[in-house]
């Protein structure tokens, strides 16, 4: 589990670094970005995991989201892993942008040929936190997760499938009900097979229905002019309806005029950092 530092840049008195390591879970080299706030030099800090969307690498978030200042202020370590295994030489992995490379969908694949490498759910849930906790001044008890689009889906299912593991969760334009949308059907079908009931284990809207308690504060921002919203890929209404039904507290903000881009993310990233800081620093 040796870490290899790829880059390090000073940022808001802390450091934005990129590391590479050999992942046991994914059987390949993986990179992740980590922001160490100035507070990390003297104290253990909570960790906030960011899960990116389709096609992204660890670079998108750390270069575009402009989260550093807020993270520095609140003393949060922010870890941004890649979105899928890379270079596994699986046939068809690079064929489309919404499946395979850059589209791990944060599931543990059960179908060949993906099941060996495409175990992003376990990677993000177990291997990565272990690695981070072993190598950085973290407080293992305090972690949260958030993400964008497919990463928003990943954040929601990680939080909903592991009650109490994450102090808080939030999402930008998450894929809320993948079993109902084209992206989800393609990816879940590809990784998990055709049994739709297996898909439900990775569907936030389905997971809410069996979520045991309501000690989770969920913040969701959604651009109103997001083309994928209107395309029916995200389906937040289904999720909200399920949460309302189950009395899971969600604040869902439909932001007028915003699209699916990192410009949208950058606009509201501070609210999300603060949302997590409230619970991580409580």
């Amino acid at each position: 589990m040796a870490l290899k530092q790829v880059s390090s840049n000073k940022c808001f008195e802390g450091f934005q670094k990129v590391f590479e390591h050999d992942s046991a879970e994914l059987k390949c080299k993986m990179k992740f970005g980590i922001y160490l706030p100035p507070k990390a030099e003297t104290a253990k800090c909570p960790v906030l995991y960011w899960l990116s969307g389709l096609t992204c690498t660890e670079q998108n978030f750390i270069t575009k989201a402009a989260f550093h200042q807020a993270a520095a202020e609140h003393g949060l370590i922010v870890v941004a892993p890649d979105t899928s295994p890379r270079g596994c030489n699986i046939e068809g992995e690079d064929e489309s942008w919404d499946f395979g490379t850059g589209a791990g969908f944060y599931v543990d694949a059960t179908e060949d040929p993906w099941k060996t490498n495409y175990r992003m759910y376990s990677y993000v849930k177990d291997e990565l936190p272990k690695l981070i906790n072993a190598n950085f001044p973290t407080d293992p008890e305090r972690m949260s997760v958030f993400g964008h689009s497919m990463g928003g889906h990943g954040a929601l299912i990680l939080a909903l499938k592991n009650p109490g593991k994450y102090k808080s969760v939030s999402a930008f334009a998450p894929i809320c009900n993948p079993i109902q949308c084209q992206w989800g059907k393609k990816a879940l079908g590809g990784y998990l097979g055709s049994d739709v009931s297996k898909w439900e284990a990775y569907d936030a809207t389905q997971l809410v229905k069996s979520y045991p308690d309501s000690n989770l504060d969920i913040l969701i921002d959604q651009g109103k002019d997001d083309q994928f919203l209107s395309a029916g890929q995200l389906l937040p209404d289904n999720f909200i309806a399920a949460c309302t039904e189950r009395k899971i507290p969600v604040v869902f903000r439909l932001q007028q005029g915003y699209d699916h881009s990192y410009f949208f993310i950058a606009t509201f990233i501070n609210d999300h950092i603060k949302h997590h800081a409230k619970y991580l620093n409580a």
């Binding site: 202020e73 309501s214 000690n215 504060d217 913040l219 109103k224 909200i240 949460c243 309302t244 009395k247 899971i248 507290p249 969600v250 604040v251 869902f252 903000r253 439909l254 932001q255 007028q256 603060k274 949302h275 800081a277 409230k278 620093n281 409580a282």
Partner: protein, 786 residues
């Protein structure tokens, strides 16, 4: 220095008669520095034998130059010496001497002299001879002076001749001090007594014939030789130094006694002066008193005299008039008699009988009638004057009163002293400037009033023995006029000037329902307890701790002009707050204290702003609306109340910082809650304009809808869990107004707005229901994050 020169001159120019020399004591110290001290010994050493010694001493030739110099200066300085001698004992001569020296231009001489002296003295000392000391202690032999020094000592000896011991002592002291300024002399130890003694003894021993013991019997210093063979053979002797010591001690004691006496006498003199003044005053006063009284008496007497004289004259006139009248009538009577006599005689001469008879009958009738009249020969009045009673009682009284006390002068009433007043009482003081005897005072007072007719009835009079009185049962914060008269057996003084006192105000009454507070401040307002205006108010704070219960005032705020004050406090504390009113008379009692907790922001609802359909329940913090339309439509509408929106404003303390409160709602209640400027339009819905910010809950057929309204705009926000308890955090510095689901610490929305003015909480109901408002609660930690 001039004085020393003077001494030298004295000795050299004066005729050195044996007698004078004899009176001069003893071989003095060889140094002039010591000359000041030689006078101590003048009497002690007044041995005649000593004089014989001097001529034998080596002449002063060696010191000629010095002698010359000194002579010059000495001549000019002789007058100064005389002057000094004329001074009284104890007078500090030093200054005078210095001045005189300056006046006579002696400074130069003096310096020269000093120089010379110094040179000589110093040059002579090294070859100090030890041979002579003889029986003297080693001290005395340690150094010795040779002839030139002796020359000086000789001259100094003579200088003491004419003077009285004490006088010279002081002078020489002064000289010694003067000389001390010269470096040479100071080096020599500034002529302390012992030093001079040393020199004395030394000088003596050097001669072999000098006295070295003291004959106690003859009280004179003698040579040891004399003790053995001379006239002092069987006398008791003492060592000269010890004799000197004891004598000096004695002298010193006497000096102390003298000083004591001087001090006593001075005290006594000043006391006498005081008495003198007092006597003059007292007698002056008595003289005046006599003058007044005797003048009065003389006046009264003069008046009596005038009266008596007048009465006497009147009596005399009356008597004379009466007598005169009697005399006149007596004369008339006499005339009639004469005429009748004449007529009768003529008748008798009548020859004609008939005629005679005719006439005789008439005549007889006339005579008979006349004789019938009684002739009053009694004095109608007595020549001596009547006994008159003269009333001297008034004079007597006047004369008596000369030695009795006069009626007192008017007292002087003092202005009101601080703390002399309470709400219902005043302590009034007055006094007398004169020493008049006063049996008691009569104190009058009445309230100062603008209504003239009420003056008479309100006046009160009290009889007081002391020069102060505490009057109670007065009205608070009211002005009273006081004046006093002094009385004794002789009468009553004129009244004093009138002085206005004012009673302290009544305690104010804190409006407990209008107290506003937050973590760092409280806004307290009150009603004056009086009709009349007061000068100012003061607020007293008592911070409550576990041990104390607020009896100790920990802070006071004074000089509050209005019935309202914003007090800065510390967060998370409890305070007792009292108010006092102040006027010239003092401060009122404390108001009833109010308890303030700075746990959180505490506000109250402003009933004036309530929509007619909105009811505030008894607790003051629950608002309710039963129906949306009023069938009767005649509900009272205040100027300040909401007319469209069934809402109400709270009154939030105008203080920066954080303010947090919560509102408990029913799930199906439609409401608007938030903040608004005080002047937000009453006819508009809350949140519909730019002077209000609020969260709105409405129920659509499909769901609960939440809006966060300002200027009629809201973001599109879905909230999956309808909050039952909404937390509202207003943070002026951060320009934020945040809403929370307080039950689960969920942040719902935050307005970012720079509030130009202080805002007030606002609440409105859009469907029948109730809102429960909770204030005075601490900001929850999850809401307080930056």
């Amino acid at each position: 220095m001039s004085s020393r020169s003077g001494s030298a001159k004295d000795c050299e120019t004066s005729d050195q008669t044996p007698s004078r020399s004899a009176s001069s004591p003893v071989p003095e110290s060889s140094d002039t520095e010591a000359e000041g001290l030689i006078f101590y010994h003048m009497d002690l050493y007044g041995s005649k034998e000593r004089f014989d010694i001097f001529p034998e001493e080596p002449s002063c030739q060696e010191e000629r130059s010095l002698g010359d110099t000194r002579r010059e200066s000495a001549e000019s300085a002789s007058s100064s010496e005389k002057f000094q001698h004329s001074q009284e004992a104890g007078y500090d001569l030093e200054k005078e001497v210095a001045e005189l020296a300056k006046m006579y231009g002696l400074d130069e001489d003096r310096e020269k002299e000093l120089e010379l002296l110094g040179r000589h003295v110093e040059s002579r000392w090294p070859p100090a001879r030890t041979e002579k000391a003889g029986s003297q202690g080693s001290v005395y032999t340690a150094s010795k002076s040779s002839s030139p020094v002796k020359d000086q000592s000789q001259s100094t000896k003579k200088q003491g001749l004419p003077s009285e011991a004490s006088q010279d002592e002081d002078q020489s002291k002064a000289r010694a001090e003067d000389e001390a300024e010269s470096p040479i002399w100071s080096k020599e130890g500034l002529s302390s007594g012992s030093v001079s003694d040393e020199w004395n003894s030394q000088a003596v021993s050097e001669e072999e014939e000098a006295a070295d013991v003291f004959c106690c019997t003859c009280k004179t210093p003698i040579r040891a030789f004399d003790k053995l063979f001379g006239e002092h053979k069987d006398h008791e002797v003492a060592q000269l130094p010890s004799a000197v010591e004891s004598e000096k001690e004695e002298t010193h004691k006497n000096m102390c006694k003298l000083e004591e006496q001087i001090a006593q006498l001075e005290n006594f003199a000043s006391h006498l002066e005081e008495i003198f003044i007092t006597v003059e005053e007292n007698f002056g006063r008595q003289e005046q008193n006599f003058e007044v009284h005797y003048n009065d008496a003389v006046q009264v007497l003069a008046q009596k005299y005038e009266e008596q004289l007048e009465a006497l004259g009147e009596e005399k006139r009356q008597k004379l008039e009466t007598l005169y009248g009697q005399l006149v009538s007596c004369g008339e009577h006499l005339d009639t008699c004469k005429e009748l006599t004449d007529t009768t005689q003529e008748l008798c001469r009548e020859n004609d009988k008939a005629n005679f008879m005719k006439a005789a009958v008439t005549m007889v009738d006339r005579l008979g009638e006349f004789l019938k009249k009684e002739v009053n020969l009694e004095l109608s009045t007595l020549p001596d004057f009547e006994e008159r009673h003269i009333d001297f009682s008034e004079v007597e009284q006047l004369m008596n009163s000369i030695n009795t006390i006069p009626a007192p002068c008017a007292p002087v009433i003092s202005p009101q002293a601080p703390n002399a007043a309470t709400g219902t009482s005043l302590r009034v003081c007055w006094g007398l400037f004169s020493d008049d005897t006063v049996e008691y005072y009569q104190l009058c007072y009445k309230p100062v009033s603008n209504e003239r007719h009420s003056d008479e009835q309100a006046e009160h009079t009290l009889k007081v023995k002391e020069t102060y009185c505490t009057i109670s049962n007065l009205l608070p914060n009211t002005q009273y006029e006081f004046w006093a008269s002094a009385l004794n057996a002789s009468g009553i003084s004129p009244p004093s000037e009138r002085e206005v006192y004012v009673t302290a105000p009544s305690p104010p009454i804190i409006k407990t329902k209008k107290i506003l507070s937050c973590e760092n401040a409280a806004l307290v307002c009150w009603e004056s307890g009086d009709i009349n205006p007061v000068d100012s108010y003061m607020v007293e704070l008592s911070k409550l701790t576990d041990e104390e219960n607020g009896d100790t005032v920990t802070e006071s705020i004074v000089g509050i002009p209005n019935c309202e004050v914003l007090i800065h406090l510390q967060p998370r504390q409890s305070y007792h707050i009292c108010v006092r009113a102040l006027n010239l008379g003092g401060s009122s009692e404390r108001s009833e204290p109010v308890l303030i907790h700075t746990t959180g922001t505490y506000f109250c609802l402003n009933e004036d702003t309530a929509h007619p359909l909105l009811a505030i329940l008894d607790d003051g913090f629950t608002i309710a609306c039963d129906q949306l339309e009023n069938p009767e439509c005649d509900l009272p509408v205040y100027d300040n109340s909401f007319t469209r929106c069934i809402g109400i404003l709270g009154s939030l303390i105008p203080f920066p910082g954080k303010h947090y409160w919560e509102v408990e709602v029913e799930e199906d209640t439609e409401y608007r809650i938030g903040v608004a400027f005080e002047n937000t339009p009453r006819h508009a819905y809350l949140g519909a304009n730019n002077s209000s910010w609020c969260m709105r809950h409405i129920i659509t057929p499909s769901r609960h809808k939440y809006e966060f309204l300002h200027s009629g705009m809201t973001p599109d926000i879905r909230i999956t869990l309808p909050p039952r308890r909404i937390g509202i955090l207003l943070h002026y510095e951060n320009c934020r107004l945040s809403f929370f689901n307080a039950d689960i610490a969920q942040h719902l929305y935050t307005f970012n707005s720079h509030f130009q003015h202080y805002v007030h909480p606002c609440f409105a109901l859009e469907t029948p229901g109730i809102l429960r408002i909770h204030s005075g609660i601490a900001v929850p930690p999850w809401a307080a994050l930056p």
